[in-house]
């Protein structure tokens, strides 16, 4: 039963795993950094399959057998090409970010703590999904509703894009609905476990991606600590189980910066990682409107980081490969927005030159939004930024030259995203208070996994911090060293 339930996702997952293996780190295709590749492959699989399903609906309309046959042919053809490309794969013997080995006892203790944090998180996720199998209100009115129309609509599948079903965001894109509808179409049934499973995959692969990538960039201990912090963020688990699109968007934002960091580490061995970053950015835009806003921010962040370091030519070459991954998905997004979506989001549609300038020049809006942002920053996540700050002061920080560009890209992207979200609060037509109450938590959630990733990229690893009179001590800082 479980195999038949998972069958629809297995072909795209296998294909995506090949892609992650081709572009991913390590000398071995499958064994090296297995968790990292699996996490990337899950996001790619859901993104790619939602696109193929949507394109199939547009071209041929709803036909279960047609979909299965055409997708199978496409996936087999793509897998053949990938197998051919894999023969030419250059081995990249990545070096672990931390030169200090961690004691076995400490590693076992951290692994045990991760398990202790993982079990209640998984259990809670399952119970939340059982108590609300159709998801919370936005899942009912946007994501799963659209999935039902796509899967049940037959020739009238476009009915869900009429004014009757519009909310304030009629142009929300279709990665989640199309992934769920495709899965249901394959099964020929609509079990509520499917949207819950999609939500679970996104929630736990976000945590796995942060932990496994930090395990590569810094150390295994560092990765485990990041995983524990994310598992100890109750809102991540609760919101993930609500079947909203914020956690999936957070996954794609994190996956994009991880792909850029991997590209920096690979030092030219894996140009495909830039295409992967482009794909992940495209999938962010295909998940939620905030993802569209993420595209120019990533491009700008790379410009600010790459041009001063390596010049315009290097930036241009990088962007060409990035665009090769981004454009196919972006084409689908624009096709949907321009020809199918019944209108624009109210937050965009309700802007006018006069009203927007009025809002921008109203100081009280800045004060209200600023206060809300700072309060949220102090308390968000359960460990929260305040706790992370104390941890940073106790452990110290270290900048690794190999990760400098990746670190800067992540930091600039995060800063620009936060600034952009802040400005949305200033120009919102719904009122600042309403926007704070209804969306601030969710917007933070989109950025929280990336913020945790950035933090652990910066803070010293336990291994580094524990070394007395470490040779690395000259490279890093701690509170006591600063005081001394």
């Amino acid at each position: 039963m479980i195999v038949s339930l998972l069958l629809p996702i297995l072909p795209p997952l296998a294909l995506s795993f090949l892609l992650a293996g081709l572009w991913g780190p390590g000398p071995h295709l499958f064994r090296s950094h297995f968790l990292l590749k699996v996490c990337l492959a899950v996001g790619l699989a859901l993104g790619i399959s939602s696109c193929t399903y949507f394109v199939w609906l547009l071209i041929a309309g709803p036909s279960r057998m047609g979909l299965i046959v055409s997708e199978s042919i496409a996936f087999i053809a793509a897998a053949s090409l990938l197998f051919y490309a894999l023969k030419k794969r250059v081995a990249w013997d990545d070096v672990n970010g931390c030169s200090q080995p961690m004691s076995k006892g400490l590693l076992i203790a951290l692994s045990a703590c991760t398990l202790v944090a993982l079990i209640p998180s998984l259990t809670r996720f399952v119970f939340l999904s059982l108590s609300a199998p159709h998801g919370e209100i936005d899942a009912l009115t946007i994501w799963n509703l659209r999935a039902r129309f796509l899967a049940r609509g037959d020739e009238q599948w476009l009915d869900s894009f009429t004014g009757l079903l519009t909310t304030r965001v009629p142009d929300y894109p279709l990665l989640l609905p199309a992934s769920i509808a495709r899965w249901w179409t394959y099964l020929g049934d609509e079990p509520t476990v499917v949207p819950a499973l999609v939500a679970m995959l996104f929630t736990f692969t976000t945590i796995g991606l942060a932990a496994s990538s930090l395990g590569l960039f810094r150390s295994r201990g560092q990765g485990l600590l990041a995983g524990i912090v994310l598992l100890g963020t109750p809102f991540l688990i609760r919101h993930g189980a609500s079947q909203y699109a914020d956690v999936p968007l957070g996954f794609f934002i994190l996956a994009t910066v991880v792909a850029f960091c991997l590209h920096e580490r690979a030092a030219g061995h894996r140009p495909g990682l830039l295409a992967m970053a482009g794909l992940m950015t495209g999938f962010a835009a295909w998940t939620k409107n905030e993802g569209l806003f993420f595209i120019p921010i990533v491009i700008l962040a790379r410009l600010l980081v790459v041009v001063p370091e390596r010049g315009w030519l290097s930036y241009w070459n990088e962007m060409r490969v990035f665009a090769a991954g981004l454009f196919p998905v972006l084409l689908i997004v624009f096709l949907f927005k321009l020809h199918i979506a019944p209108g624009l989001s109210q937050i965009v549609a309700d802007q006018g030159a006069t009203t927007t300038i009025e809002r921008l020049s109203d100081a009280s809006r800045y004060i209200e939004a600023g206060q809300a942002f700072f309060k949220k920053a102090a308390r968000f996540g359960h460990p929260g930024l305040a706790v992370l700050l104390v941890y940073l002061l106790l452990m110290g920080w270290r900048t690794n030259e190999a990760d400098r560009s990746g670190f800067l890209t992540t930091g600039v992207t995060l800063g620009l995203m936060l600034a952009g979200y802040f400005m949305v609060f200033i120009i919102t037509p719904h009122g600042v208070r309403y926007q704070i109450e209804t969306s601030l938590d969710r917007l933070w959630m989109q950025l929280w996994p990336t913020a945790v990733f950035l933090f652990f990229l910066f803070v010293k690893t336990p291994e580094e911090a524990m070394v007395r009179n470490s040779p690395l001590s000259g490279e890093g800082n701690t509170l006591s060293q600063v005081r001394a």
Partner: protein, 152 residues
């Protein structure tokens, strides 16, 4: 004095990573304890296990399941309810819209076929229908009615 301070700081440098990790682990693991609360509630709710109470949406889905055979597979139907205006009413409308998909549900009684959703015990359905020019086609029980819509 300076050497004593320096010695304290040196020790602090050695101890602080352990303190830092312990602090982070305790705070994170403590917050995961919070995660177990709904599980306990869920377990205690079903400790006596007499029946598993389905969620609200599933209940609505069961209530209106009889409508499926009476409604066309596609198209638009209206919606009439005795709920007071407000968010609770809107939420019920959204749920009906979700459970009847892919039929479009317009929040208006001026459509040829109208789904009646009655949840207030004090409501007199006959009077309600008369006031809104609606005609009963079929009473499916549990407050679910299929109605002929009022002309616009």
């Amino acid at each position: 004095m300076t050497s004593a301070l320096s010695s304290i700081l040196k020790r602090a440098t050695i101890v602080s990573p352990f303190v830092g990790m312990l602090f982070l682990l305790l705070v994170s693991l403590f917050s995961t304890i919070k995660l177990t609360k709904p599980t306990e509630q869920f377990a205690s709710r079903f400790a006596g296990i007499t029946e598993i109470v389905p969620d609200n949406v599933t209940l609505h889905e069961r209530r209106v399941s009889g409508l499926r055979t009476l409604l066309p597979p596609h198209g638009t139907v209206g919606y009439a309810t005795d709920d007071d205006a407000g968010y609770a009413r809107y939420e019920k409308y959204l749920t009906i819209r979700y459970v009847l998909a892919p039929i479009l549900v317009e929040d208006s009684p001026h459509v040829a076929l109208v789904v009646g959703n009655f949840t207030q015990p004090a409501t007199d359905p006959q009077q309600f229908l008369r006031q809104r020019n609606l005609t009963l086609i079929k009473d499916l029980g549990q407050g679910v009615l299929l109605l002929e819509g009022a002309p616009r």
